[in-house]
Amino acid sequence: MTDIVATIRDGNEAEQGLKPRSELTTRELLREVGSVLRMSEAEAAKLGDLPADPSEDQTMIINMGPQHPSTHGVLRLMLELQGETVLRCKPIIGYLHTGMEKQGENLTFMQGGTNVTRMDYLSPLNNELVFSMATERLLGIENDIPERAVWMRMLLSELNRMSSHLLFMATNGMDLGAVSMMIYGWREREEVLRFFQKVTGLRMNHNFIRPGGVAADLPVGWRDDVLHLLEMIPPRLEEYDILMTGQPIWRDRLQGVGVITQDEAVALGATGPVLRSTGLAWDLRRDQPYLHYDQVEFDVIVGTYGDAFDRYAIRLNEIRESIRIVHQILDHMPGGDYRIQNKKVTPPPRARIDESMEALIHHFKIFTEGFKVPEGEVYVAIESPRGEIGCYIASDGSATPYRMHVRAPSFVNIQCLPHMMRGGLVADAVAVISSVDPVLGEVDR
């Protein structure tokens, strides 16, 4: 009981949270600032403004979240404020931790997709893709995936990038007070999800991309649906430009806010639009091509200043690049199988099950026992809308991964928040969180 009272009084959970300055010696403070700002003690000391940092009666530690609507879920930030200026900031996570990596060790490689697809719930197809690619690499069949499956994976992955970035447009607008933008962003995203529903049966958490290919072929009339999307979205993006990009209030809210330099971003491991906003053109689709990204033409969008406006503009233009890629995918889409005809990983066709007992047994074995994956370990990374999503799988030769780890881009990117916020205004904190676009399902896994 006393513990609870103490927790309520202090307003934080002791160890994980930010400590008030009065409880720290100088050395501990340096260490704390270092760990909060992700720099060594020596660098923290070099900041120079530490001794001049105010005494405790001028500062205040407040909690932002985990129920704050602008924290994109259950992100909690502890902010040390002096007036309206943020001095220290520490993201506290784990409120959505559901043990998905542990769960991944108990699901077969066949079932694993249902698990990983729920991590980054705004780009589920990218999660499934990286898991499938890691599994295929372990099986040694990564070069035998049928062409149609590869191009279908690209199509879905790019459309997913569009839907994810459209949602970013909506939430970013909402966080900054452009409430009508929220409606528009969700509206366009819904159009893309409607296509996903037609193809996979579900709006989200599809479990459609599986080891060996994809679950089903594209439905009749898919090309018209995609063309309809590609026709509808570009004029809407022009509307976004009018509504936000050129608008003085919007620019004032975002330009120069949440600046991060290139060296900092690289040292902190940031990827995706956060890294590209600093001017470093690093996109795994171009730099370490997977699927057939080396056969399509697109530009890697980079920023200049590393601020929140750059990250907004990058995402807006990445939607345009994705549209460009999807046009090329439509031209390339070949016929043929949509999954590998390797009986080890692919269940027999439904029609065979009715007439052949062996096929029925085969089907039953694959869905109950799964397929065995040779011993080994592999790390595969692809470019998700949020950055590098990686999947590390260690297999012991059984049908379930011995260890399944997902390198979540949001988990790493939110570690940049303290750096971006230091010295900024508390009112800009929302703009900074929004510009990183974290998905807490992926941060906490």
């Binding site: 959970e13 002791a14 160890e15 994980q16 260490r31 704390e32 270092g34 760990s35 909060v36 992700r38 720099m39 060594s40 003690e41 996570i93 784990g94 931790h97 043990g99 990596e101 542990k102 769960q103 108990n106 690499r137 372990l138 040694g140 690289v266 040292a267 902190l268 491991g269 940031a270 990827t271 470093l280 690093w282 730099d287 370490q288 011993e375 080994g376 370990e377 592999v378 790390y379 990374a381 590098e388 990686g390 590390y392 260690a394 012991d396 011995y402 260890r403 780890h405 390198r407 988990f411 790493v412 570690q415 906490d444 896994r445």
Partner: protein, 176 residues
């Protein structure tokens, strides 16, 4: 034959290595296997060799799978730290795997070289109970602070949600 460079002729005799650390190939990906003592020096050498980004840092608990293949001279331990480094300049990746025994589950932090590894090391500490010496803020990150045990260890039970209609009904006396 005479124009074959000496190094190539000799190469098959020696196991491949880099910075004096055994180098293996896992499905076409390069993996370095330093000892704990060589760990920091190896990573430092890689950092100087353009591997400027620590893409990922995680661990594996090999409690129930001790007999995995490792290069000569590296004895398997229960834990393994896996670090994925990325060279943006050369567009290359390399992986570092370090064995960590359970009775002395500690290893040096990479924080000074890669500040971004701070949160990942906290996650490994939280999930596996491996200590990172000189880490600036070694606290649990995903689990609550008062949590007991380390969930991703293999001897940590997954737990289950009680199901109402299962075969092993609690007796009426036992149920309250």
């Amino acid at each position: 034959m005479s124009d074959t460079p000496v190094s190539e002729a000799v190469a098959p005799e020696l196991p491949p290595s880099m910075y004096g650390v055994p180098l293996t190939d896992s499905r076409g990906q390069r993996v370095l296997h330093p000892t704990r003592a060589q760990y920091v020096a190896t990573v430092r050498a890689l950092l100087d060799d353009t591997f400027t980004m620590c893409a990922d840092l995680t661990a594996v608990d090999f409690l129930t799978h001790p007999g995995r293949p490792l290069p000569d001279g590296i004895s398997p331990e229960r834990f393994e730290i896996v670090v994925n480094l990325l060279s943006i300049e050369r567009r290359e990746r390399i992986r570092v795997r370090v064995q960590v025994p359970v009775d002395d589950a500690r290893i040096a932090t990479l924080f000074d070289m890669y500040p971004g590894s701070e949160a990942m090391e906290r996650e490994v500490f939280d999930m596996f109970g491996i200590e990172f010496t000189d880490h600036p803020d070694l606290t649990r990150i995903l689990m609550p602070e008062d949590w007991e045990g380390h969930p991703l260890r293999k001897d940590y039970d997954q737990g289950r949600i009680p199901v109402q209609f299962s075969t092993d009904f609690p007796s009426k006396e036992g149920a309250k």
